[in-house]
């Protein structure tokens, strides 16, 4: 550099340009800068603002108080801990409530109920788990058929038919479900021949409608990853297992299924996360008993008008999602 400083300016420029071009960091910085800027300013900064809001307090007129003396964990406390109880009581109340809901025989384990927010959170997780389990139960055999049994030349067509609805409008498909579940629709009239279905009954605005909507929208996300792991399995292993004395079930259960597990895990995360965080589906298909945490967050920023509580709810929901991703990665799954 010292010797070059006597050269003509243009020579120096050319050398500088060459040095910049040769520098290992230049490519990385040029390629990263626009996205890093955009994600930083229009994604992370807004999340940071919302996170900050979640420590605030609601004023008497629904305004958000963010002065130092208002900041604290009160919204999270309000979310998780019923008034006038301690963390331990709240924790026990939550566990007890979960047991009471899961096991039919047990009824009053704890005198305190968990907060409505906690119940809503677990209800949303429940929807997510149910949607995942149903998608798996319905989608796995189909993925197995497409990936292994269907004639090779139809595989692409069959898989395109699974993807196609996913590309079509989400709202329109929810509306289509609404058309099927409403009173006097084709489906409901057909069901009315059953003895226990009343004439003019409707399945709309129910927990069933929400679950059906979730499975309908997200099941392709289960089928696709399972299909791609089944397609890669070497099925001579199944024959080997059967030659060694396994029956068909054992060969499937001990040899084939474990190899398709990466797909099942990826599919489960892909179905669980959007299902637990759903907003539009319960909004359009659900009734008052089938709202989810997403609707709670939206209502806190709308009619209920408690922004800090809504922000806290949003970060609790994202915590749940991070946990499910962490569980997925711990199980050996990879992002992307």
């Amino acid at each position: 550099m010292g010797r070059d400083s006597n050269d003509r300016a243009s020579g120096l420029d050319a050398q500088l340009v060459r040095r910049i071009r040769r520098n290992q960091w230049t490519g990385a910085i040029v390629n990263l800068a626009p996205s890093a800027f955009w994600l930083g300013v229009f994604f992370l900064a807004p999340l940071a603002v919302m996170f900050f809001f979640s420590f605030g307090e609601r004023g008497a007129f629904g305004e958000v108080l963010l002065a130092v003396e208002n900041l604290g964990l009160q919204q999270y406390r309000r979310f998780f801990i019923p008034e006038d109880t301690s963390i331990l009581v709240a924790l026990w109340a939550t566990v007890a409530w979960l047991i009471e809901t899961a096991v039919p025989g047990i009824e009053t384990l704890s005198a305190t109920q968990p907060t409505p927010y906690v119940r809503l959170l677990f209800k949303s997780i429940g929807y997510g788990v149910l949607a995942t389990v149903v998608s798996f139960a319905v989608g796995y055999p189909m993925a197995y058929y497409i990936g292994h049994i269907a004639p090779e030349r139809y595989q692409n067509l069959l898989i395109v038919l699974v993807i196609l609805p996913f590309w079509a409008s989400f709202l329109v498909r929810i509306y289509a479900i609404q058309l099927l579940l409403s009173a006097n629709s084709v489906l409901m009239s057909a069901l009315a021949v059953l003895p226990f279905v009343e004439q003019g009954a409707s399945l709309m605005y129910s927990q069933f409608a929400v679950l059906l909507g979730l499975v309908y929208i997200w099941i392709p996300f289960m089928i696709l990853p399972v299909y791609s792991s089944i397609e890669e399995i070497d099925f001579t292993l199944q024959e080997a297992a059967m030659d060694l004395g396994a029956d068909r079930f054992e060969a499937f259960y001990h040899v084939i299924f474990p190899q398709s597990k990466p797909g099942v895990m990826a599919g489960s995360v892909l179905v669980f996360i959007p299902s637990a965080g759903a907003y539009v589906i319960p909004e359009l298909l659900g009734g008052t008993d089938s709202q989810m945490i997403g609707n709670f967050i939206a209502s806190q920023f709308g009619s209920a008008g408690n922004w800090p509580l809504g922000a806290a709810g949003a970060f609790v929901l994202m915590g749940v999602m991070l946990l499910s991703i962490a569980a997925y990665q711990r199980g050996g799954g990879e992002l992307g």
């Binding site: 626009p34 603002v49 319905v138 079509a168 289509a176 058309l179 099941i219 992002l335 992307g336």
Partner: protein, 276 residues
């Protein structure tokens, strides 16, 4: 007892193929029956749109002539569609360029904090749209940016970049870098190599990413609803209509949306091979 169970289980699996065909057919029925019913009902000659009363195209004719059918105003729908297309096109252009560059950076370079940064890139795909929409709304309010189609584009790019980057990065992983070295050895500079070797080879990936980004933008209701202010997009318009209940007008708009989008995607997939 155990033996009988095992035999039954094995027998079930012996006949597995037949059951699987039935099961698969059932899922396709589940996926397509609602859409078929929707399209059929858009030709239903009844004000109360659910019960079949006979075939008619009168709702289509009325809407195409600009008449309002059961509160559905075709002019408003058309304007909403134009907004949606404008936002989606702008979003796709920006996110495809930035997202592709990002995919290159993630594929070719190691830098401190890369794992964390990759996590951030995945986040817009993963986090619930409701959280993304509301946080952007708070942000625009605080910074003092007027809400409108401009803010909608900004918000859409924030998730579009991630979708493009993930799809293109997957493509780059299978990319053979010796091709680039060969081009350089033969005297091409970096730009020529990029233009004539790298881009043509990853073009399908970029196309798939752009298509996905377009679909995500065109279809988005939640994020857009919070950050577009008084403007309308097709999903926002449609949501408002659905909220007011089932009607022949909504059926026609819904049928048109689904037929046109599925046809476009089917054509794209035909040219491109299965894309997801």
């Amino acid at each position: 007892m155990m033996g009988a169970f095992r035999r039954a289980r094995a027998a079930l699996f012996e006949r597995g193929a037949g059951l699987l065909v039935a099961q698969t057919a059932f899922v396709y029925l589940f996926l397509y029956l609602p859409i078929a019913v929707l399209i059929t009902l858009s030709f239903n000659d009844s004000r109360y749109a659910v019960v079949w009363q006979g075939f008619t195209t009168k709702w289509y004719t009325a809407l195409l002539q600009g008449e309002t059918v059961a509160r559905v105003d075709p002019t408003a729908a058309w304007n909403a569609l134009l907004n949606s297309v404008e936002i989606a096109v702008a979003m796709v252009v920006i996110s495809t360029v930035f997202g592709t560059m990002l995919a290159f950076a993630l594929d070719r370079y190691d830098f401190p904090g890369k794992r964390l940064f990759t996590g951030v890139v995945f986040m817009p795909i993963i986090i619930p749209s409701i959280v993304m929409g509301i946080s952007l709304l708070l942000f625009f309010n605080i910074v003092g940016i007027q809400l409108g189609t401009g803010t909608a584009i900004i918000g859409h790019v924030a998730f579009g970049i991630s979708f493009v980057a993930v799809v293109v990065a997957a493509r780059l992983q299978t990319f053979d870098q010796t091709m680039e070295e060969a081009a350089m050895d033969l005297g091409a500079n970096e730009l020529e190599t990029l233009r004539f070797v790298t881009l043509p080879m990853i073009k399908p990936g970029i196309f798939a990413g752009a298509l996905l980004a377009f679909a995500m933008s065109f279809d988005d209701y939640v994020v857009t609803f919070f950050i577009i202010g008084q403007e309308n997009t097709l999903p926002i318009f449609f949501f408002g209509m659905v909220r007011q209940g089932i009607s022949p007008g909504v059926n026609v708009v819904a049928a048109l949306i689904i037929v046109v989008t599925m046809a476009l995607v089917a054509v794209a997939q035909w040219f491109q091979g299965p894309t997801w």
